[in-house]
Symmetry: D2
Subunit: 338 residues, 4 copies
């Protein structure tokens, strides 16, 4: 039974606590902490866990085998580094850290430690559709992959959402997915700006991102963040001999009022609920008996940050921006493709 | 943490033990038993549970809060009655018992006990597609339901499979599903015999079953048990103003070699894997704090047996056979519709 | 250029005149007649055709190579027999005649004539989807056919529509389609009556028809004639090794307001518009250079009438009713399968 | 009855002759000519038309009301100008002429004539799916259009096919379609070059074209010309509130061998057969009684040529290339949107 300490008991933290308490096997949340001590105490009481005054003390507690970081982004680096210092596995919600430099510090710390402790919360790798897509690709039925077409659509975003967030918060999921899907790095980014939707006021929405990969595979990603009709994630890989696309996952088809209709999910929770469950269960299972995590690594978190930065630069400057990564520590070799 | 004792550690029993040990929350398997004591001992050792010499001793053990019965069908009645006698919740894999009379004895024992202890393993009620279908129906979008068209197709069945088993083992899932979906009893059964498939030797396959419901709703069910192409479960409700059907659940669509193709599941494990997980998690959750089970009841198990018997009679005699149920104890009122 | 005379210039007659005048090649409407002489004169003037006082004179006119009968059903027999007497090809809208006995008189007259002159207006044989379905069946990919599931749904029917018309006017299309699809006769009919839709007042709607074929193939047909949501024609053949179904023909898929939707046709005109065009073009082409028609024959019209009669008897009596056909003249051998 | 003279009796010319002779209404091919006089004579004899020694004499013949140009591309300009000089309607297969300058000479000649005579053979405007897509767009259900994603895939191309032809011969259909769909001009083109398919030797395939429109709408077009699996045309418009895509047109769905499969067309003939028929029928109908053509105009042919040239320049230079059109004569105002 893995004993987990959770740092940050806001919405996402509470959701993961619920998951580890009521949904998954082999895990128990034994410790929590939050900047709001009252919230932490209340959550702790509800599940019979201890409430800690801060992340530092939680991380080193003997009742904590592994750490889950769900706090505010700017605090991630500190907690993840502290977990590495303590030699404890740490699951960090995305982003790994708020700058590429901070991510690289984590990469270096983990590389110095010598084995993997860090996993970053990119859950698409755990979605059944993406996994089926990767299985088709890896089977070779399509021949070599040449392109991928993606769309990432949200029904709406809050008023504070900026054009850069369409890359750093929205398309970042495609950034990680693409690196995992094709097992190679993104080498350059372009961002094109279509006609602006009136649904988001001054927000430049949608965007068309274009990623180049090492092998030359070209990936285009539409982000539409105020498209009203629902949350819709699309992806189609174009290979030499055919294509494979994320399938329909409609549980029911209704024929009324002149149309045969499949429901579209309302939001990401509905679409990726199971992926979160699988992500955590596999993380828990990987740690059993002192094992290492095998999911998205600190390097993956770092690479996502660098590509995001390149995307933001491309959006602002209007030009193709190359992606320049630091030298990859040996620890992460073959990690992208895993 | 619910402490469960499992009677029967064959294939299905081991699968449920794996589920309760490695997949679900809030449960621990503390006790097992099997006719093959060596198998039971081996399974017990692997999960740190106790091995019991027989079901009777397991059921009354203080380390067992609830019982799961996965043994050979003819033993079900004995174990379920023993659990009722011990006042312990019992999850019994289908069938509840091998005769309608035996099922009725269980119903009567539970009714005498005065509250629900028994749940029967009809897992379709826990499938996301059937639940979405029922949600559409209950929302009233279709108007009153009038008909339902179903198909239950298996790629192949073993050589010992008989024509009666297409009803008692295969269509019995539709029997339970239909009663749950529409919240009413089946009142008569017809079985028609189409041209015989050459894939099953002398086996009369496929069959076309027709169920009449209390309200007049008519349900047709095709069973095709050697259809080679895969495991395919179809269902479409026809209402006054429209229809709703089980949707496509294809995780990926592949375009190669002249066709756009969605994979079909190979077997029931693949199709209903999640339904089993949800079934058990909800059963576990329902028992927390001394609660009662809310899933398929002893009455549901009894009704399925009576309808199956009517189906077998209809198959053998070629005529419409009415379904005659015993008087329903008050304990089960509104259970069908729950 | 085939010169056609049209008897009956009501809605359907005018539609066929439009088709032969503005859509198809190799044909000219040279003569029309109608019980309402003023309508006939007006239609004739609009297309430069001659208006005749009655069908008899139109049929024998030297300006008429072939006859199209679109008049009131009870008049069909007279006109078709007159065309046969004149040795002229005649396309008769369904029904061939209003009784099986009248149909049989036409069959006998044509058989006495010695070669085919008559074609009946069953247009589904010309629908691209049904043809693709038959092509799959005939290729043998499914193994031997065992069952077929059909649905025939209308958004609404007029107040005078009777329960018998669901067989004689609605399901009669499936009757002809099934005989053509499988190349064999229907041997018995059952009609089951589900819970009644409130959309049609006292009308018994829907119905579930079950046809037995010579080889044992079983066909079930749902007729729902007031189902509101649109005109929907479904068909799935179940073979030994797989199934084939009428495909989706949605020209566009729209994603708005929480759903991905395909439009459903509003009525049979929209659904089968092209089938009518193809039906007539192939009829015209078949007659070029004095050829014989190859579409639905007088025998097909007769068989449809006998099966419809059996269906009506089954509906009224509640029992399985065998279909008893007269001996088939040699002229029609192999016609069903053509 | 429109009397048509056909210049060029090669494969495409013979197909249009067949169409006008055996499929469509209101038209007769009265005259043909070809560089191969023997072929022209043979075709003429088979349909009872006159064979002319050259296009010039055919165009001025009193037996020719309208001209169809199906000859070798470099000859188009001469014949179209001659038809304009003769004041006769002329349908010219794409391209209108082989250079933008030549197209512009035609535009100027027609503008000088003062009314429309020329129609260019862009048949997608007549495809039922594209029309349904445009109807959804024009209804406003999607809000303002912002992007369109297209794919144009061929199973294979001949060995002489060059990377430029992916624009001038393949994507040119999307160029015309996009201008018609959105009723505005393309203002700039980018061409990106993904990883190369091994199926085409040294051919740079696929390509990703990106068109900018006057309103800012961004259109991406994948061309994959050796993708083996079939001929697949895809298109999805992204609007402010939703999307609309070309639908599935599968006539049949087959379930065998582990998959539910819809056939993909083998080639453009299969996919757009009906569009050609509708294109010609509407052209014929538009000319009845001395009317003007309303399909793709000389201006459309000119614009397609200019955009193609920009695309080729973008492909060769790797940069975004603006589209610079001549001033549009008043004759063509509102033509794009028609």
């Amino acid at each position: 039974m893995l004993r987990v300490g959770v740092i940050g008991t806001g919405m996402i933290g509470q959701d993961h606590i619920r998951r580890m308490t009521s949904v998954l096997a082999g895990v128990r949340v034994t410790a929590v902490t939050d900047v709001d001590a009252a919230v932490a105490a209340s959550v702790a009481a509800s599940i019979g866990a201890a409430s800690f005054p801060d992340g530092a003390s939680l991380i080193v507690s003997d009742d904590v085998d592994a750490v889950v970081v769900c706090s505010w982004g700017p605090t991630h680096e500190e907690y993840v580094l502290a977990a590495i210092a303590a030699g404890k596995p740490v699951f960090c919600e995305k982003p790994l850290a708020t700058t590429a430099a901070a991510c690289l510090r984590i990469v270096e710390a983990e590389a110095a430690f010598g084995s993997r402790l860090v996993q970053v919360g990119y859950m698409r790798r755990y979605d059944a559709s993406y996994r089926a897509l990767k299985a088709v690709l890896d089977r070779g039925d399509l021949g070599a992959p040449l392109m991928m077409h993606c769309a990432h659509r949200n029904a709406s975003v809050p008023g504070f959402y900026s054009r850069e967030m369409a890359i750093t918060d929205t398309a970042v999921h495609e950034i990680d997915m693409v690196r995992w899907m094709f097992g190679e790095e993104i080498t350059a980014v372009r961002v094109l700006t279509p006609r602006r939707s009136g649904n988001g006021g001054d927000l430049q929405d949608p965007l068309l991102l274009i990623f180049e990969l090492e092998s030359g595979v070209l990936v285009d990603v539409e982000t539409s963040v105020n498209i009203r009709y629902g949350y819709d994630i699309r992806g189609e890989i174009v290979g030499e001999n055919g294509t494979a696309a994320l399938g329909s996952l409609s549980p029911v088809q209704v024929r009324v009022a002149g149309a045969a209709s499949d429901p579209v999910p309302a939001d990401w929770r509905e679409r990726f609920l199971r992926a979160y469950d699988v992500e955590f269960q596999e993380w828990i299972d990987s740690l059993a008996g002192g094992g290492q995590p095998v999911g998205p690594s600190a390097w993956d978190g770092y690479a996502a940050a660098v590509v995001s930065d390149a995307g933001v630069a491309a959006l602002r400057g209007g030009e193709r921006v190359p992606v320049v990564l630091a030298s990859q520590p040996a620890l992460y070799r073959a990690e992208v493709a895993a």
